[in-house]
């Protein structure tokens, strides 16, 4: 592989990302010629040659969906990166450690406990205040579980044990949700199950604004914590000897990760796999462990992966699109396996 500077690689990725973004906008169940898509996107004058439905589809459905993919791709990847560094475990990601399950619990509480009014679609119709409620619930759920995991991690030195405990907490959380489902009306459960498949669509207007704000907040915190993350790479003892305040570092990293994983889980459902795969792909592409490069690079790679997966999910039929969760795992797993097989050291951070 030719040695390119990180800046060149970042720029290259940025261009690819732009292409993927446009591609994502131009494919869908309704065929719209690329020329018209450009026209809708870049010209303000409404020409009569373009149908109103096309304009509506592009502006109200496809662009928000692509934006959601960008936000979710950034958030999931960076959250995964933070988890892997904090726990010094290459298998860690928000879903493995029960954070996604925590967010799901928050969402389930709102969706299932609120009775029929509080179904997902009802909440989306409620607009900003409703989605705010579900976001807060998801972030709180995520933060709560993560706090629990971290409290336990203070008592343990072994990272593998920590991971097992995280998985156990995730299982407990999932079974609490199951109990809830068992006693809920079928319609409410159906909404919840659909949400579980993961979806990038349906986040529009004010919701997108909330989603974007929370994600950017979480990403900024992650970016600002990159120095701490670098120190944590050497393990907590070294980090402390270099003047890192472990409590403060953990708090900042948990907050940022919970905001990211929580909001994404609230709006898009528990999207698996991106969080664990993208940090590995990025480390391989950029051959660095420095978080000042990894955080933005993960954003780019994550976004690219999610946009690409979204394009693929549109391909099979004219009417239906596959749930995003299926595609991410189908595409991502072989990529990660190939990358890991190519390198000597499996424990690579």
């Amino acid at each position: 592989m030719p040695v390119l500077s990180p800046k060149v690689r970042l720029t290259g990725l940025l261009l690819l990302l732009l292409l993927a973004f446009l591609l994502d906008i131009s494919v869908g169940s309704v065929k719209i010629p690329l020329r018209d898509v450009f026209h809708i996107l870049f010209s303000s004058s409404s020409s009569s040659s373009i149908e109103d439905t096309w304009k509506f589809i592009v502006e109200k459905i496809r662009v928000p969906k692509a934006c959601t993919a960008v936000l979710a791709g950034c958030g999931l990847s960076v959250s995964g990166l933070q988890m892997q560094t904090l726990f010094r475990n290459p298998l860690a990601d928000p879903s493995v450690l029960g954070i996604t399950a925590g967010a799901s619990l928050g969402v389930a509480m709102v969706m299932l406990a609120g009775g029929s009014i509080a179904t997902l679609f009802a909440i989306r119709e409620l607009g900003i205040s409703g989605s705010l409620l579900i976001t807060v619930a998801a972030c709180l759920g995520a933060g709560l579980i993560m706090l629990l995991v971290l409290l336990l991690s203070g008592r343990l030195r072994d990272n593998v044990l920590m991971l097992i405990i995280g998985i156990m907490i995730g299982s407990i959380t999932t079974s609490i949700i199951s109990i809830w489902q068992y006693f809920s009306a079928p319609e409410e459960v159906k909404d919840y199950l659909l949400w579980l498949f993961g979806s990038l669509g349906g986040v529009t207007g004010g919701q997108l604004l909330i989603f974007g704000t929370v994600t950017i907040l979480g990403l900024s915190m992650a970016w600002l914590s990159s120095k701490m993350l670098d120190a944590l790479l050497l393990g907590e003892n070294y980090a402390r000897s270099m003047g890192l305040n472990p409590q403060r570092a953990r708090l900042i990293i948990i907050c940022s990760s919970s905001l990211l994983a929580g909001s994404i889980t609230a709006f898009c459902g528990p999207i698996g796999f991106v969080g664990i795969a993208v940090p590995h792909i990025t480390r391989q592409l950029f051959r660095t462990s420095s978080h000042r490069i990894l955080v933005p690079a993960c954003c780019l790679v994550g976004t690219l992966l999610l946009l690409f997966c979204d394009v693929l999910s549109q391909l099979p039929g004219n009417q239906t699109a596959l749930p995003i969760n299926i595609i991410t795992a189908l595409i991502g797993s072989p990529v990660v396996i190939t990358l890991l097989l190519r390198q000597k050291n499996i424990n690579a951070f």
Partner: protein, 345 residues
């Protein structure tokens, strides 16, 4: 008026762990220790004597059970993490995971307590990093990834990182643990030079007793949970502290050479005559195999068997004389031992 050469000082220190109301004492003390500028101190002691806990307590990473550790008159536990990181730097036994990090970036992490929020490096930072890389002698490694380094190289890189932290006190927990003999000697010599040239106070824990005796300005010898002997290494040899600390029925401390030897069960007497290096190694081989070596000068000639070291064509040969008629010759110690063993057992 605080003494400027006094970098770290303990007052009636007792180290250990506290969990709930239960206390586990690792070193009872009370310890009153001093780390001075330009001093290389070796902390010695058997496994489980509490060396690591003492180091971590002195570095302010671990709370003492009793007493306190002071730097410039201030309790190190009261310092902010950054202040503490500007006082003591550490090299630990644990291997770091950051495999994709370059050596330069790792050393640059040593500037953590000085750099800004995002870890940006200034002119001073770069100068100190360059100095640290040169002082640790790792110029050739600077662009290598961590996962390509050998144990010896990676230990020196971690040392460079600690040097980049630019602290008056440097502590190393068993820095020679995974190194081969030449690397151990080089590292110890390097630390000795650093202490004297940079005027840092360097404290390291080690099992390398013989090396420690050669380079240490002061030795802290943890005998067990109760006692810590300190002093110049030579004083500790002469007053028997070493012997006491490592006393064991089958290990003997030789005050002449400052080395430990395994005490063999020497019951079967063998006469020996010979001189030079070959004689020294022959004696050692005989002792190792359970023979009690009697020099010919010290015994009557009647005692058999007699091993005589002779020379044939510039090579040592061994003659085993078990009687006037019974004489055998060997060209290696192994062959001699084989026959001796058969005859006498």
């Amino acid at each position: 008026m605080p003494d400027p050469s006094l970098l770290l000082q303990t007052r009636d220190l007792q180290t250990g762990y506290r969990s709930g109301s239960k206390k586990t004492i690792t070193t009872k003390g009370p310890l009153n220790l001093e780390v001075r500028a330009g001093q290389l101190i070796c902390l010695l002691g058997p496994n489980g004597a509490g060396k690591s806990t003492l180091l971590r307590t002195l570095a302010g990473l671990h709370a003492p059970l009793e007493g306190r550790v002071e730097s410039n008159g201030a309790d190190v536990r009261q310092l902010t993490p950054t202040q503490r990181a500007r006082t003591v730097s550490l090299v630990l036994t644990e291997r770091v995971g950051a495999y994709q990090l370059t050596v330069y970036s790792l050393v640059a992490l040593g500037r953590y307590p000085y750099s800004g929020w995002m870890g940006g490096l200034g002119e001073t930072d770069r100068t100190v990093i360059e100095w640290a890389i040169e002082a640790a002698g790792i110029q050739a490694l600077r662009d290598r990834k961590l996962f390509t380094l050998s144990d010896g190289e990676s230990q020196k890189v971690m040392l460079a990182r600690a040097l980049a932290q630019d602290t008056p006190v440097l502590m190393l927990d068993e820095p020679t643990a995974h190194l081969d003999l030449p690397s151990r000697i080089r590292l110890m010599r390097l630390l000795h030079q650093l202490a004297h040239q940079t005027n840092k106070g360097i404290l390291l824990s080690t099992h390398e007793l013989e090396l420690a005796l050669q380079v240490a300005d002061e030795v802290w010898l943890l005998q067990n949970r109760e006692t810590l002997h300190k002093g110049a290494p030579e004083d500790l040899v002469l007053n028997g502290a070493f012997e006491e600390a490592f006393a064991h029925e089958d290990i003997r401390f030789d005050k002449q050479t400052g080395t430990f030897s395994i005490q063999h069960d020497n019951r079967k007497p063998v006469l020996f005559a010979g001189e030079g290096p070959a004689a020294w190694w022959t004696r050692r081989a005989l002792q190792r195999n359970g023979f009690f070596v009697v020099e010919t000068a010290a015994a009557g000639a009647e005692l058999t068997p007699l091993v005589r070291l002779i020379e044939r064509g510039g090579q040592p040969h061994w003659r085993l004389e078990s009687g006037a008629e019974d004489i055998q010759e060997f060209d290696s110690i192994a062959a001699l031992l084989f026959v001796l063993d058969q005859r006498l057992s």
